[in-house]
């Protein structure tokens, strides 16, 4: 403020900066120099994170969701080492109803349904989170660029995002897997690509509203590069939004991967995957053979509901 501002805008900005410094001093009181301010803020942030964690752990939905997911992770990691019998090999009479020895019965080929449900956790728990992770990375990248720079590229990409959102994911996935064939890689890529526009839209909206705030303006006036403003200023402030979107996406990815497997366009036999098991056996329900279908179906439902419980709890804890 010793140097006279070159124009009116600069003057206004300088006044704002002055005001901000004054306000900051008021808050800190006698704490003193800028280093003290930075230190205090870090401590405050850590305390806030701790409180949020405590809030999270107090929510029954979060605990239940995490427990369910952990159970399935144990099943998926353990695989056929912890299942009562081999999930892929027929080991008893076919189509036995649930009983001691086969708690969930056996399927039409004589394989133990309980073992298959346990082992079936593996593929979906690898494929779905991977797809969600990729889509969130791509979506955050695109959303940041589009929301920060705007302009005609943003205009065109936004239109494209709207179009991609107007096509039901499952249909698009069927189209892609019919063209490329279905392997785990294709399924991961397809779900990631189809989820990217959704994440992009969320992140872009968050960036748009962040970019109007004073801290972004002052970072720009300091002469920071766009990359710095996006990754060091805006990104930390929209991380909660991205985190919530990420957990929600994992839930939807499980949903989508299971549906694709059910439609024969996802995980392929002989994997004991749940969606696959349902599609192999649902035709037997009218004849009264419910157990090979219903147990894997409930397993799918449990994972999706558990992920949603966790997502809701995180959202609520961050909002509090």
């Amino acid at each position: 403020m010793q140097v006279p501002p070159p124009d009116a805008d600069g003057a206004a900005a300088a006044v704002e900066v002055d005001a901000a410094v004054a306000a900051g001093d008021d808050v800190i009181g006698e704490a003193g120099p800028i280093t003290g301010l930075a230190y205090d803020m870090r401590g405050e942030r850590r305390q806030a994170a701790r409180e949020r964690r405590r809030l999270l752990l107090r929510r029954p939905g979060f605990i239940i969701g995490v427990l369910i997911i952990l159970t399935w992770i144990v099943c998926g990691v353990g695989g056929d080492k912890i299942t009562p019998s081999d999930p892929l090999v027929p080991n008893d009479t076919s189509s036995l109803s649930p009983r001691a020895g086969h708690l969930m019965g056996t399927d039409q080929l004589g394989r133990d349904v309980l073992s298959r449900v346990m082992a079936g956790a593996r593929d979906v728990l690898i494929v779905a989170p991977l797809a969600a992770t990729l889509s969130v990375i791509a979506g955050a990248f695109l959303g940041l660029l589009m929301g920060y720079y705007r302009g005609w590229v943003d205009e065109i990409l936004s239109r494209l995002v709207e179009v991609l959102l107007s096509i039901p994911v499952i249909l698009m996935a069927l189209l892609i897997t019919a063209t490329l064939g279905s392997s785990k890689i294709v399924v991961i890529g397809t779900v990631a690509v189809l989820f990217t526009p959704i994440v992009t839209r969320t992140v872009r909206a968050a960036v748009l509203s962040e970019a109007q705030l004073d801290y972004v303006t002052s970072a720009r006036l300091r002469g920071e590069k766009g990359l710095f403003v996006m990754t060091r200023e805006i990104l930390p402030n929209i991380t909660p939004t991205i985190l919530v979107e990420y957990t929600v996406r994992i839930g939807y990815a499980v949903f989508t991967v299971a549906t694709l497997s059910f439609l024969g366009a996802g995980i392929q036999p002989p994997s004991p995957d749940w969606g696959l098991a349902v599609s192999d056996t649902y035709a037997l329900i009218p004849a009264g053979q419910w157990w090979p279908t219903l147990f894997p179906a409930l397993a799918i439902a449990s994972v999706v509901v558990a992920t949603n419980l966790v997502a809701d709890s995180i959202e609520a804890a961050l909002a509090a």
């Binding site: 039901p168 189209l175 349902v278 799918i300 509901v305």
Partner: protein, 317 residues
């Protein structure tokens, strides 16, 4: 209003154009060999070449793109590769059957969901409200085919209340048809009830907290009158837009349900086309569902513009 409709229509047409382009890119630019995919790994190269020639996949890409664009206007997609019939002859009857199921599902779902949402909003943060919201989240996060098999077993087989398979015998009357369609329609209800109810609840809460509602209550109007004339009108806007967008998604959710309940609708047709690599039918099916989705969102936007003049100012949200 007329200006708004025109702008909104132009937007729909651009979207449709982009949709066709995306479908074209997926089916053509990815390295794929439709002839080989259809004929299988054991066919001779000559057979594959003949197939590719018939499919027109050897033509220059621009010609193929032009053909797909033209098809999307005239809705003449040529012959299905698997069945040999024109694609449109296969799609229209299937679409009619699916529409019947969707309509039935909506008739069951929408009034119940709106009632539940408004009920929950007026008893905010009570036990009943939490119950409705939690149930809604849980039920709408389960894939259609999962709730489908569950209903098929518990209500269809165990209790025997409704038919297990959805297609009524030829020439049966409406009541019998509806009886056959009840289980898949209920499965749609399970999936879409929660979402619509939650949107209605959110909209109602916003309207209940608004100043005009307070004014209406304070000038002594009856609760009934306030709810109907002041709250409902404003509260239902998000619901209308959600119902509009969900109809398009309903059609894709139908794939699983139509398989489980063995119903020859558009979902099962698209599924069969995808497993048999019937690209003319598959592309046409996907574009058709995209068009339906666009028409539904268009209708929803127009209804909202009619309900709320302020919405006419913007084309996209």
């Amino acid at each position: 209003m007329a200006r708004y409709i025109l702008r909104r229509l132009a937007f729909s047409i651009i979207t449709l154009f982009l949709l066709v382009t995306v479908v074209f890119l997926i089916t053509n630019v990815f390295p794929s060999d439709p002839g080989r995919q259809i004929a299988g790994p054991f066919a001779s190269q000559e057979q594959v070449d003949v197939l590719n020639e018939q499919l027109g996949t050897n033509d220059p890409l621009l010609n193929q793109y032009g053909r797909l664009l033209r098809s999307s206007v005239t809705f003449d997609y040529g012959d299905s590769f698997q069945v040999g019939q024109p694609v449109s002859e296969l799609l229209w009857p299937a679409l009619g059957r699916s529409a019947k199921l969707v309509l039935y599902g909506l008739v069951l779902t929408v009034p119940a969901a709106i009632a539940a949402g408004m009920f929950a909003a007026r008893r905010r943060n009570t036990f009943i409200d939490r119950g409705i919201v939690t149930l809604g989240v849980a039920s709408s996060s389960i894939p259609e085919f999962v709730s489908g098999v569950a209903l098929q077993y518990f209500i269809g087989v165990k209790l025997g209340w409704f038919e297990v398979l959805a297609l009524a015998p030829r020439g049966s009357n409406l009541i019998t048809e509806l009886k056959h369609l009840t289980l898949p329609a209920l499965s749609l209800l399970v999936v879409y009830f929660g979402y619509i109810a939650r949107m209605t609840r959110a909209g109602t809460i916003q309207a209940l907290d608004a100043d005009y509602t307070r004014t209406a209550t304070m000038k002594g109007l009856s609760t009934r009158h306030v709810m109907r004339r002041h709250v409902a009108r404003n509260a239902l806007q998000p619901t209308v837009s959600v119902v509009g967008t969900q109809i398009g998604y309903l059609f894709s959710g139908l794939i699983g349900l139509e398989l489980i309940f063995n119903y020859p609708g558009v979902g099962r047709l698209i599924y069969n086309a995808s497993t048999s690599k019937d690209f003319p039918l598959l592309s046409a099916g996907v574009i058709l569902v995209g068009i339906i989705y666009m028409i539904c969102t268009l209708a929803a936007d127009l209804i909202i513009a009619w309900m709320n003049p302020r919405a006419r100012l913007q084309v996209t949200s």
